[in-house]
Symmetry: C2
Subunit: 670 residues, 2 copies
Amino acid sequence: MPKTHTSESKIAFEGRARVVIEEVAPEIDNGRFPIKRVVGESVVVEADVFVDGHEKFTPVVLYRRELNKEWTEVPMAALGNDRWRATFRVTEMGRYRYTIMAWVNHFQSWQFDLTHRPDTDPDLTMVYKSGAELIKKASVNVTGREAEKLNSAARTLNGGASLDEKRRVALDDEITDLMERYTGRQQVTRYDKELTLVVDRERARFSSWYEFFPHSCQGNQHAGFRDCEARLRYAASMGFDVVYLPPIHPIGRAYRKGPNNTLTAGPEDTGSPWAIGAKAGGHKSIHPALGTIDDFRRFVGKAKEQGLEVALDVAYQCSPDHPYVKEHPEWFRRRPDGSVQYAENPPKKYQDIYPFDFESESWESLWHELKDIVEFWIGQGIRIFRVDNPHTKPFAFWEWLINDIKRQHPDVLFLAEAFTRPKVMHRLAKLGFTFSYTYFTWRNTKHELTEYFTELTKSESREYFRPHVWPNTPDILNEYLQFGGRPAFLVRHTLAATLAAGYGIYGPAFELAENRASKPGSEEYLDSEKYQPRHWDTNRPDSLKDHIARVNRIRRENPALQSDWSLRFHDIDNEKLICYSKTTDDLGDIILVVVNLDPHHRQSGWVDLPLEMLGVHAEQPYQMHDLLSDARYIWNGTRNYVELDPQLAPAHIFRLRRRVRSEQDFDYYI
Amino acid sequence: MPKTHTSESKIAFEGRARVVIEEVAPEIDNGRFPIKRVVGESVVVEADVFVDGHEKFTPVVLYRRELNKEWTEVPMAALGNDRWRATFRVTEMGRYRYTIMAWVNHFQSWQFDLTHRPDTDPDLTMVYKSGAELIKKASVNVTGREAEKLNSAARTLNGGASLDEKRRVALDDEITDLMERYTGRQQVTRYDKELTLVVDRERARFSSWYEFFPHSCQGNQHAGFRDCEARLRYAASMGFDVVYLPPIHPIGRAYRKGPNNTLTAGPEDTGSPWAIGAKAGGHKSIHPALGTIDDFRRFVGKAKEQGLEVALDVAYQCSPDHPYVKEHPEWFRRRPDGSVQYAENPPKKYQDIYPFDFESESWESLWHELKDIVEFWIGQGIRIFRVDNPHTKPFAFWEWLINDIKRQHPDVLFLAEAFTRPKVMHRLAKLGFTFSYTYFTWRNTKHELTEYFTELTKSESREYFRPHVWPNTPDILNEYLQFGGRPAFLVRHTLAATLAAGYGIYGPAFELAENRASKPGSEEYLDSEKYQPRHWDTNRPDSLKDHIARVNRIRRENPALQSDWSLRFHDIDNEKLICYSKTTDDLGDIILVVVNLDPHHRQSGWVDLPLEMLGVHAEQPYQMHDLLSDARYIWNGTRNYVELDPQLAPAHIFRLRRRVRSEQDFDYYI
């Protein structure tokens, strides 16, 4: 019978399915959106499961890859207050489904009742006969030794054995197990939704990005991809694993912006890479000054040799010179005089940019073409896309595009560059973006950092929103960096790289501590690379490159820093000092970070640690190994002193090493 | 096109519907269950609504009676952070539906942009032409004066008028309003669920119940309905509006229980009314000692004359003598010897009770017969049912029964007597029970009461779980009552009647302060009426009946006490004193209750009131009128002194009267 409710008195569903399943977690927006994991991670599923009366029941979690039909079952364990839990591990990229099923377990109920009956219960003989009936019924499905075991048990319960013997047989572990396996499941309740789960490769959780403008790889002249190969080696030497390039397409001439975003570009000015499209082509073409498609493929290959993956920018907008403007006039909005409506956010005007009109009658062909762009670059070996301003294009479009692409290419990752309101950012993450830029750039105090990263790592949103944190971008040079000198850059890099498993910097501006803003109160860079190539002396002695390389190596060597959910802030009695830890589940790797947020003054304080939670005995000393300086400190008890001078080193990245031998041995720490 | 997502690259939905609607509240379990209201109440609907980009949009709440097809629209107002809200009022009993709809509002976006354009914007002429186009498009749907208004506006925006004049016309209120009404709605996003709402009559929210055993209305002899008419007048004199009777059906002989639940009943012993069914009939029959069905109808009529509604007990279980046992052996579970399985919860046995087997193959006929029982009593004029132990019958059964009955009879109310685990109680409330017994009986300290009633009145569960609180029942004589003397009864009654709009007592045991338990540590009454009629001297001078009558009158006269959501606890610096207020939404009625929870000693303390929230000026004195003693106190400022002697009066029920005239007048308070 179909399991639906009907009006009036007709009963058209299985009314004997007595178990109730509700409050399933994780479940995003009633199952409308998937949760996210990477290969090798676990999913912990919980639910309220209960039945009328005091009957026992069996709840199980079911999961499968979406491509497979067959479910795997995991029994759930009781947590108390009608809450149940089971865990499973995902091993393949792509989409999974999971749900819950439960049914009344009459044999378990019978066993439970039995244990509460006194030996004087006059009904005991009858009770054992009831048990024998249940066993005989189950044994129909069994053969061989197992059948014999069950039949023998039924005979014992039915026969003249002593009450002690009957009781022993009734509660026997093997019988219990056989009954669990072979009792026909009847009146099964199945949770009314199949929940979805997207499994990505590990880089979705743990990645270190280096963004640079390829046009700047050759001094102040416009560079080509071949000139950028040294920059790849340089990025690899700092320990990054992704290099991300701003748009590499032909740049429009019309209304081209000059240096520092001036309205009048000279003939030699390069224009903004985000003003995409010219006679030489559009989103599927390469800027002639950067080279050919073959040069690009060579560049991607060179990157790979260095252990680097290339991420491209997807900016769905056109310069007035983009071939689409003539080929597909129907994709743009017209003004009353017939001209194309350029981008505006009054009083701001962007005459060099034509937005697509997603309300066009031809929206379907537009969607397909935009997806084609992504597919084209996938064809060139690209698997990571950083999406420019996704929040100014329809949500439904992104959901369709990303899911469609990932069905074909589950290894493709999308980073949402949506610096906008929280609910909009969350929606983009829910509908499919792999990771998301965050507000990290503007969170500089201890209170702000603690509150924000607690929300990112402890709330339900962590199931779908993977933070990717950036201390700077070509658009954002935060005040803290403008006025904190070199120590500010050390602080913000250390925070980014240890608070979040996914982070990136825009360089070489970052490691060279470039801090000149275009004007007071602005976060724009002076002489921004968005509008002109820049020469960077990456060998400057004050460069942060060695610090960055060291931190990236620490990240690679310590799995605790490769995921975010274990993040935990610790008390320290100085508002300028922040302290937090990350650990692996088994506490095999414990990283404790202390950062002096004040870039100007030495600060000191007492750290307060929850030793029990970190697996440390309160009475034993433990070693704190600073992986930045290689210094080792012996700490004792919960409260210990730290002092950090920003001019020397504004942070500790400790690995906590527990003592494993007694005082009879030499001191030795793992 | 159907609005569904398909796999691969086919696009089969309206991709231009850009607005997103999520996090709708109230919404119970993803819309699986309805929220509840009574006639005249409001529903406040909130949702996150937003769109890509910075376009304006219009969100509305839609609602309708389930029987009607036509929706009523209510515009939503912005609360900030992408949250929106609208309110509607329900006026009819039965089921309603509500949902949300939103669409991009191009004219509003255009107006908003306009207000941000400087007068020097070179595009202004073009911009006004765009506005004129929008207006002309809308005017197609308009006739008469309104069309003329729109056309004239379009001409102004298109023509040579001054910028000031164009701007005035563009932002004109009437134009804005006409555009809102006549612009065709395109690419509408509709929330993907229609949420449901059950509207009951007012008694679902506000009721005062008096439970009594009709067999006790005539001294120690088994009384009949005609003997109970004086008890009806007595209940009415105390101000109750519902009288609730334990089961009134024939009582079985087999395994009948004697006084104090002894296993051997004598021939004169009446047995438990919950052992339903004998030769004289079952659930649709009247116990011969109580009278005939005509006597019962006369009793219901007499109750009505006194302003009382009769509530019956629904206990779905049978004595071994119930006609069903022979007529429908398929509805009962058999033991191996062929006998019917009686109720057991080892080591407890209830040989006088046969439970129905809801896993029977004949479950459908069982369900229909059980519903027939309710319909039978509806036919006798009954509209309130108190359901015995609903948590031992399947949830799906109750959902079907209650919803089916209420579709035909929306005025029928069901009270769930489920003293069990929280999630089970909540599920029963969600699936349809009108109101629910609570843990109030076991919440006696200030901390317990504050925590529990805050949960009941402030959490999302208030949307479906209506508390009904009882200081005693025939099954529960709490320790506090056993050992606190008469003051304990005064305290518990005052708490019940002022904390909750729905409450009841089991009398005359309650008002006569009957506090003898069957044995130490038990909550059972000694000589419980469950097993024998009892004589009660309702005229005893120490009876609480006058106090009860006074409190019930206060409840009727003060709408603040007739609903629960406004409940708010206030600080008072004595753990034995509890203080809380209830108010009407307009603060026209403000009730402040202070109770001494210590039944033995005088207690005093300082109450701390949030005067601003109560609409009282901090500098002006206000009058506290104790509606119990009729004393009036002048209070000043936020902190005021109270003292309560349990031997005199353990509680104040103040009405707060604000001063309405100045000191030039005589003091006068409303």
